[in-house]
């Protein structure tokens, strides 16, 4: 029995987007296969690994267990939307510099969780960073250089805004 298609309308990375989905389509499928935004990754497809993390209305969520149709009218930010006018965000640049991206597959999800943290806390402790990333599994790095990157990014963001 084929499923009925609907047009989903939402904002993705600041752009109004429309795409065809069925009731059983997840947000991750809609992003990756309908909208061509392949930056968000499928690691486990059931909410265990965090590779599909996107930010919806300011909060990190798991796109693989979010039903696309529940996102009607919502605002989603994906990894593709983190850079501003092509300039990588401080946390992206810091992760590149620190060596916190090895295979890179967990990286988009990690960056979305880290970005959301930095948006609400510009001076996170290492423990707060570890807490914020506790839903993002990384198999390559052992997390050390990821923590360093987030701390570096926070430092740079505070400096840019004249904070100490």
């Amino acid at each position: 029995m084929p499923a009925t298609s609907f047009i989903l309308r939402l904002s993705v990375n600041g752009d109004p987007r429309e795409c065809a989905v069925t009731p059983g389509t997840t947000l991750l499928e809609a992003l990756r296969y309908e909208m061509g935004l392949t930056g968000s990754k499928q690691g486990c497809d059931k909410g265990d690994c965090g590779a599909c993390t996107v930010v919806m209305d300011g909060q990190p969520v798991l796109a693989c267990i979010t039903l696309a149709m529940a996102c009607e009218g919502r605002a989603v930010t994906t990894i593709e939307g983190l850079a501003r006018h092509g300039v990588p965000h401080e946390v992206q640049d810091a992760l590149d510099q620190s060596g916190g991206a090895q295979c890179g597959f967990c990286t988009p999800g990690i960056l979305m969780s880290a970005w959301a943290l930095l948006e609400r806390n510009r001076n996170p402790s290492r423990d707060e960073i570890a807490q914020a990333l506790s839903g993002n599994l990384c198999r390559c790095t052992g997390y050390t250089k990821i923590f360093e990157a987030v701390e570096q990014a926070a430092l740079r963001m505070r400096a840019a805004r004249g904070e100490r």
């Binding site: 990754k41 590149d96 967990c106 506790s134 390559c140 790095t141 250089k145």
Partner: protein, 822 residues
Amino acid sequence: MSQEKPRSGTPAIPTGRAMPREDRLSPPNWPEGRAAAPNGTFSTIGKRNRKVEGLAKVTGRAIYADDITLPRMLHAKLKRSIHAHARILSIDATEALAMPGVHAVITGKDLPAWFGIIPWTEDEQALCEEKARYVGDAIAAVAADSERIAEEALAKIRVEYEVLPAVTDIDTALSHPEWKVNEKAAEGNISKQVFLEFGDVEGQLAASDAVVEGDYWYEGSTHAPIEPHCCVAEFDATGFLTVWSSTQVAHYLHRDLAKVLGLPTQRVRVIQPVVGGAFGGKSEPFSLEFCSAKLSMITGRPVKILYTREEVFYAHRGRHPMRMHYRTGIRRDGTLTGVDAKIAIDGGAYSSFGLVTTYYSGQLLTAPYTMPAYRFDSTRVFTNKPCCGPKRGHGSVQPRFAFECQLDKLAEKIAMDPIELRRKNFIGEHTRTVNGMRITSNGFLQCLDEVERAAGWSGKFRKLPYGRGVGVAGSMYISGTNYCIYPNEMPQAAVHLRLDRSGRATVMCGISDIGQGADSVLAYIVCEELGLELRDVRVVAADTDLTPVDLGSYSSRETFMCGNACLDAARKLRHDIARVLADAWGCEPAQVTLAGGIACSTRDPQRECMSVKDAFQRAEAKLGTLGSVGWYQTPKLGGDYRGGTIGASPAYSFTAHVAEVDCDLETGFVRVKKLWVAHDCGRALNPVTVEGQMEGSAYMGAAEALLETQDFKPAAQYHGPGLHHGPSLLDYRIPTSLDTPEFESLIVESIDPEGPYGAKEAGEGPLHPSVPAIANAIHDALGIRCDRLPFSPPAVLKLLRAGDARAEWERARRPLAAAGAR
């Protein structure tokens, strides 16, 4: 000298291939050597550089296999056996084929050719024809318009099975040879046996002042890369097949695709996209690659297969469970005497790299300590479970665990500090192991010094309050080996280097970057030799149409072998350019340097200079279009006996760890507070990526020690034997950011004479000592010996209650305190 006990059932290795030929290819011998900087000081090497693909990864633009979509692409899925062991009596796909949106169904008879990564043990088929050998073994494939339709079609395929008794552990495999898992086994369920003896083990043990005997169990584990396997195949109208696959071994995949599909190798192209982690789990061909290709051939459309996370567990090829029994002797002065090992290896349903695993279970233990006599007797068996294979530290992590625990027990017996014991038995540099392996550079002593210092060992060992402790362990590992999987005398790695008049260099190499930074290593080398900036170097990798053959990312061979090939290619061009400029300036070529974008003479750098780009153009005008080839072949290495080349490496890395633990006495929970990791990588071409490998390896080792298990359900009433207990990342637990120890990376550089700028491996060596260091730390903390993995809270609690742990803990402290240990 070795003694090999003849065993029936061991597959015969054809004569003449035991040792490489005398007229073997040999890479250029640079008079200046390979280790030094071309211009006196390094400009790129040794600096904390970014990676060439780093920006793409942090902006989500890196293209992995599942990011690829081709026009009219179909989706395929595999039907898998629900039984651990069953004959396939019939497969009826009529109903599936009749479904709208279904384009093709294939079964074993469509891909009957046997394959296997090791040519002597080709015991796999892309789809099982006669028999399924584990729960999850692939038996059919469907191509359809969407994954959903393919999945619905799978449900409509009717399979008739005759269920057979399932073998799910080593003892059953050995005691029931009539329950034959794998028909290619010559005898019962024996996959491979290796018996090797060097020196007089019994004599040495008899002459020891103390002998420690122990039983160890190393639990199986899997790689769990965050990216599942994925493959896209396109067979075009000219009969040309292109395959994009998340693989570490594009070359071997290339060969096996051609063989199994019956295509000439010239009509097949394998491209490795960015790979999201592999760790050895993607170092051989898998069903999805053959099936997507075959379905593309049948339908004339591109076909994609993406494994679900569960299917990744069924593909497996992970750490072999090993049951090990060691006897180790020592003299009162701390020198080792003899080592005897008996090892049983659970191989799962197929061979995979099993032949190598069985050798590695013994061959890689003979350094960093001198062993006057050594013997190992290893048997790998087949069981009806997903096949085991190479996981980071292939076949040597398990014996290293047992042996480093043995050393700790020996140290206790003779009241010697365990670091001191390891120093005492240091094998040295530029020497040979008892089994004929050539050791060149060896920074192990510095590694011990580093972790001893950084961890504050002397203030902690046997001095911390009950529940807290420190432990040490050491290891060594190969930087690639002699053994090139299929017999041939051709180079193991190669680079084509092009210099462009626009001032760019392009490095083409079959190298497989799986996240470790391999592509970038080539770029760093080119930058160093030719004075370029990183962003002016393009690396084209792992595309069998465009890049010369590299055997792949396994056995920690990429930096050493591809790096050397790249060094040669780049150096040839540097010398060519230097000669052209020397002519123009009237100086010696040795006086010409290329660094920091400038080509100049050392005698008059202000006036005799130009940009590197101009230098390229000058050279192109004089010599014609610029390009060079570099390749690498290992020297003749290894012991002169059957199997003597397996484990023979042009350079070995060395590692030492200290672990500090804090144990919860009520729950048995062991928190590894910190791991100090000292690793001799020869030279860190980029300390950032070397540290990344050290930390990542230590992370993976700690995870095996504490969390990971491959449990297979006991038989349920109708089904269930050989069913993986939790094929998901929820049930198969890898540490989160909150579970991971703190790591401190301490790079040691022994400057290898044969590695590129002195570099050796860093990708697998640093995993080994973490497991025994943690076990030894637990002993220091609690007075219990964790001889079985994992050191889970229930296991630790059981050990705490089994005897008088506290008394053992106190006893262990007395001799050292009495001896006034520092």
